[in-house]
């Protein structure tokens, strides 16, 4: 689901730190150096990298922009190969039958089966095209906020890693605790009080609240 889709899911981040000088050059370089490769590695299960928002299948950051108004906008592409287990199972069975017949044997050892399975998996994996998944990344450099258009755990973890590698900046996921910690709306005293809060229960009409702020 991309930024322009009719329905989106969004994870939010605060960028820990800020690029102070040559912002455009540094971000451009980070995107270029970590752009997804155009040459598919036939043995790689997963390939990932940045690609321009307007050109998901031609990762050319010289030709396509990453600035939209005051924002930086680009896409994170994860290409993944997977072979359905039933297809592997079918080919392994065929291969075992073939081997037994050719060698006039009745039995194949566990290790041999394992080797056959590995070799079949590698072969099928190399033949299988990868499936691209594209997630948009919107970065407000001024407010140090990033919107990532996916809430999938694996995609978010990969984003955090690649962002840090590309721009030498850490992404901090925004959830209740980090929203409080990152906001200027709270005084230090209020933040300390939040740290001491414990769940309040409206339990069978009785209020159970043992905050250590008392």
């Amino acid at each position: 689901m991309g930024l322009l889709s009719s329905s989106v899911s969004i994870a939010r981040y605060r960028v820990d730190g800020k690029i102070e000088e040559n912002v455009m050059e540094i971000i451009h370089a980070g995107l270029k150096q970590n752009a997804i490769t155009t040459i598919e590695d036939e043995y790689a299960e997963v390939t990932m990298g940045w690609t321009p928002f307007e050109s998901n299948f031609n990762p050319d950051f010289e030709k396509f922009t990453f600035t939209f108004g005051d924002f930086f906008l680009f896409s994170f592409r994860i290409d993944k190969k997977s072979v359905p287990s039933k297809i592997i199972q079918k080919h392994v069975s065929i291969e075992i039958e073939k081997k037994l017949k050719e060698e006039g044997r009745q039995f194949i050892s566990k290790n041999e089966k394992k080797e056959i399975r590995e070799s079949i998996t590698d072969k099928l994996m190399s033949q299988m095209p990868s499936t691209p998944n594209i997630y948009d990344v919107l970065w407000n450099h001024e407010s140090q906020k990033v919107l990532f258009f996916s809430t999938q755990k694996a995609a978010n973890e990969e984003l955090e890693t690649l962002f840090s590698k590309s721009f030498k900046l850490r992404l901090i996921r925004l959830f209740p605790f980090t929203i409080v910690e990152s906001s200027d709306s709270f005084s230090d005293e209020e933040r300390d009080m939040v740290l001491n809060l414990v769940p309040a229960n409206v339990n069978r009409g009785k209020v159970v609240a043992g905050d250590s702020n008392e």
């Binding site: 329905s7 899911s9 939010r12 959830f175 709306s185 939040v194 229960n201 069978r204 009409g205 209020v207």
Partner: protein, 189 residues
């Protein structure tokens, strides 16, 4: 703003996820009792620069609650439907449950947003924003992006502002003397 260490992040996520769940439970209480959200958090909305005539939330087509039973087991209640009967949810609240997810409709003046929000992460999913301009050619893309971004940010601004307001309330003395009693009375009804 304080320095947050990476290993603190997952610990803090789990330790304070109840704040998001309590926020959604409180929001349900505001909605059910027709409490004017714009009015009660007026100064917070003003500080956040949210200038509008009205802000109205409505429960959408689902709400999920969770009740920790104390022995590591959890009771989960999920109510779905276009006009969900929420009595079961209130019964669960009586037993000590909190809202963990809900589908909300937000109306700011004439505009409407629909989305699911998860308490523990404050993630917003299946977000539908007010109708924006169509992209008919490459020259429309930048305008469409900026319009959509404005509309996405609006929902976060409103939710964050209300969450800040809730947190300030939650650490105040009035929470235990006024607010929690109001919630208790509503749950008991």
């Amino acid at each position: 703003m304080r320095v947050i260490l990476m290993n603190d992040i997952s610990v803090s996520y789990n330790k304070y996820k109840f704040l998001g769940n309590e926020f959604l439970t409180w929001l349900w209480y505001l909605i059910e009792n027709d409490i004017n959200i714009k009015k009660i958090a007026e100064s917070e909305f003003q500080k956040a620069g949210i200038d509008c005539g009205s802000i109205v939330f409505e429960i959408g087509n689902c709400i999920a609650l969770e009740n920790s039973l104390g022995d590591d087991s959890v009771e989960k209640i999920s109510i779905k439907g276009d006009d969900p009967g929420l009595e079961e949810g209130k019964t669960a609240l009586k037993k000590g449950a909190v809202v963990t997810d809900m589908n909300l409709i937000l109306r700011v003046d004439e505009d409407e947003w629909k989305f699911n929000i998860k308490g523990e992460s404050m993630e917003i999913t299946s977000l539908k924003i007010p109708v924006s301009g169509k992209v008919e050619g490459d020259e429309d893309i930048e305008g469409a992006v900026l319009e959509k971004v404005f509309l996405y940010n609006k929902v976060f601004e409103v939710v964050d502002t209300l969450f800040h307001f809730f947190i300030k309330k939650r650490v105040s003395k009035e929470w235990k003397t006024v607010d929690i009693n109001g919630i208790k009375e509503w749950v008991e009804l």
